[in-house]
Structures are given as structure tokens and as C-alpha cells.
Symmetry: none
Subunit: 246 residues, 2 copies
Amino acid sequence: MSIVETADAEGSVSLHQRILSDISERIMSGAWAPGHRIPFEHELSTQYNCSRMTVNKALSQLAKAGLIERRRRSGSFVRRPQSQAAVLEIHDIRIEVEALGLPYRYERVARHKRRSSAEDRALLELGAAGPVLALECGHFAGERPFAHEQRLINLTAVPEAADEEFVAIAPGPWLIGRVPWSEAEHRIRAVAADRHIAAALDIEAGAPCLVVERRTWSADHPVTHVRFTYPAESHTLVARFRPSQG
Amino acid sequence: MSIVETADAEGSVSLHQRILSDISERIMSGAWAPGHRIPFEHELSTQYNCSRMTVNKALSQLAKAGLIERRRRSGSFVRRPQSQAAVLEIHDIRIEVEALGLPYRYERVARHKRRSSAEDRALLELGAAGPVLALECGHFAGERPFAHEQRLINLTAVPEAADEEFVAIAPGPWLIGRVPWSEAEHRIRAVAADRHIAAALDIEAGAPCLVVERRTWSADHPVTHVRFTYPAESHTLVARFRPSQG
DNA sequence: CGTTTCAATATGTATATACATAATAACCAT
DNA sequence: ATGGTTATTATGTATATACATATTGAAACG
């Protein structure tokens, strides 16, 4: 969950939202290092020419999100980055399949260019409407379906994608080759297969599946949203790590 | 005489916090089903005898947490509840539950001390046989089962655990307090609930569940293996990260 | 009958104000 | 010095108020 709402460039952002993003910007960029005391509420309210309540709303949210720590009488301090190490690699399904010693096959099922619907914008966390590319792809290990991919690409951020058919190359590797991502978010959950997914994966409707959704940003612009659906028995995510500072 | 006033005994919680937990309680318990319109801000402010701003603070947080959806002129409506945990960070279920504003309850279901079976050794990646403690625990959010825990503790590495009943404290927090872990491995997958899990989580057998298994080492010695099983609809793991640093 | 306009309404944001609470600094007494 | 008291300060919570904004239902109109 992004702390900074994707509320987008045009001026229609609330003030506490702007204060919040200004501060988290400074924290994320490293300008304000961990331990740094950020200005007091009354200082910020002077800077932004607003009431303390407005500043308080922004700072409370930052505290809730874990970016800062607030201490009475002392002020608010930048916290050390959380240990959320890059545990989940951006995975290339071809490599996963080939690591199993199975032949990999990719298939583009559908491709639609369209103006973003409300749902598209929600998935991409996109503020304004614009063109998107919707893709549906199958990944196979030998004869068996290995994963089903449903992807949205924000054509405003990646206009070249409009000219690519994605028949010969999967969108994942294509994007990695040309769009440097600056941030990604994964959502992982279990679901029951609906009929569409069941057909695509050749399993029973209602069978458990692992869904991995990834949203990617490049320099604060939403780039793509992808949902991989794996039949339960074919996939386990493995993440190994060590504790970082604390 | 509102819904409120019973307690006040110990809980020195803020009012907006109490409004928040009252409402999320009703949502999570199913008393207010998805789609149900919750009372208007002005109704709640009358019920709780407080200002609209206080109610607004609670409802805004509920909306941000995804439990409700707010529509101007129409009111606020219950959404399908989903908890979010930062995957590899928050592993204390109590904290996850309390973050939802719900009362947390822990229950030890079973406890067996035994010499490690072959299966135990496989789970713990243990070379030689030795004593282990097998635990089964329930974690509840309000009245509803939130997660089921199945755990093995390597008593060779943590002999003190043999003297602990784990009735008053869950094994997770107990271990964290005394065994510094140096490495951990997660495995995440989707499964269909077997009869045992279905009964424990109060769901249908065969329903999809998210399973998170964690193995922990301390200075190269296997410490514990734990498997958390969450009902699919109640849980999404979220991990957000940047490529360069953490 | 369909369309436009308008008023009513619930939420969204911001303000000034007030008092509570926790942590620290400063002070004082032993 | 040492320990305890007090004052100061920043945050925490709550209030009443105001106006903006989105949406809806109904009235007015062609």
C-alpha cells in the first residue's frame, strides 16, 4: 500500500497529502537520513502556512506507515528502513520452468489496446485515464499449463509497447529489457479458480491457486500490473533472508 | 446507551479507535455483510455523542484499510475484508489482528514432546534424531479463526522450550524473545483445506488456503519450523520494495 | 417523454481552539 | 552529587465550524 496516493500531478491533491509526499520523498531519497529529526509540527504548519491539524494528519500517517517515529516532547524522527529486503525476486517464468528441467513454451492468448477503464486504473493505481494494453498469456512446462498471466501495461509510460505483438516474446522479459523499475509491490494470496482460470490451467473450477500480483513503477509512474495464477500443486514461492539491522 | 459504553474499565483507547474497532468487529463477524451500508457519520456522531470529525477519522482509516468504501452522498459500505501483512516482516499474528482493530485471542490446541520422526527431521532440516516439541495453535480475530499454526521446535537448540506450556503465550513471541535468529526461509503456497484445517478454520474442506511456512536458524542450528494456514479470503501478503537498497 | 437544472445531502478537507499526556529540562532540597 | 519536584514542550485527541465537492433525486422545462 503506497503511502503516497497516486493522486497524480495535476494540482488536485489535498494539502496534507502533499506534505506527506514531500516528507516521504525526502526520506526515501535519503536526504533525511534515519535518525534525522524532521521539523516540528508547528514549524511545518508555518512553512506550509496551514494549521497544525493538517500537518498532524500527514505526520500521523507517516508514523502509521512506519517511516517516522514520533516522540512526545522530542519531535518526529526518520526510522531506519524496515527489513523488507528484496526477498521476492522479479521472477522470469522461463527460468523457473527450465530450472525444473522441463521444456518451456510461451503463448499469447489475447491482446487488446484500449482506453483505461476504471478497473484498469485501479489496478495500475493510475490517476487519469489513458491508453493501456491488456494481455493474456499462457506459460507451459512441457505439455502442462504452468502459469496464467494477465497483464496491463500503461501505454502512457511505455508507448513503444503499443507496437509490440508479444507473440514471440513474453511481456515480462520485454519490459525488463527496456523499462527500469524503481519500485514494485507484490500481493500474494490463495484463491479458488474461476471457470476462466480453470480452463486456462486445465484444472477444476474451485481448485486452489496461488495468485501473485505485481505492480511496478518507474520514477513514480505506474508501468504495469501483472497477475500470475499458478495451480496450487505446481508452485511454491521461496524466500530466504537474514535479519537486517532491526 | 449507545453501543459503546460497556467497557471503559481498563482500555484507555481513544474514542475514534473504539469506533473503528466496533465497526470492524461487526464487519469481520459478518454482522454487517459486504454491501451493507454502515450508519452515516452524523448518525454515528450522535450514537457515540462525539463530533463528526472523530467519526470521520475512524471511517477514513477503515476506508484506507480497505474494509469499507465511501461514496459521497450515498454513505459508506462494507467491502470484502482483507488483511494485509507486510510479508516478511510482520510475523506476529497478534499485531496483524490488532492492526485490524479486532480483539486477538490465542489458543493452544495441542502440545507433544517426542523424539523427532523422519518427517520432523525433514521439516527442520535436521541431521540427527533428537527431541522436538510439536505444537498446534489457533489464532482468532474476534470470534473468527484467523490463522492456524503448526509448529516444531528443535529442543536440542532450545531446551528451555520443553518447560513451557505455551498456553499463555504463543510460541512465536516466546521464541523471538529468547532465540536470536540468524536466517530464515519462507515457503508460500496455496492449498486446499483438508478436513483438519477446515475444522480449525471453520471453512469448507477443499476451500483454498494460503500457507506460509517458515524455517528459522540460529547460528546454523535449526530452531523451528512453523506452518501458518490462513483462509484464502482473509489474507493477502504484501511486499513492497525497491531494487537498489532496502 | 426526455433533458436540464437545481437543491439536498454525505463525504472531504481545512481551520482555530482546547485540554490531556508523556518526556525532558531545569530547579531545588537534602 | 543525588534524588525528587516542577515547568516546559511536542505530540495526541477531540471539538465546533466552515466551505468544497460529488452524487442523487426531484422539479422545471422544452
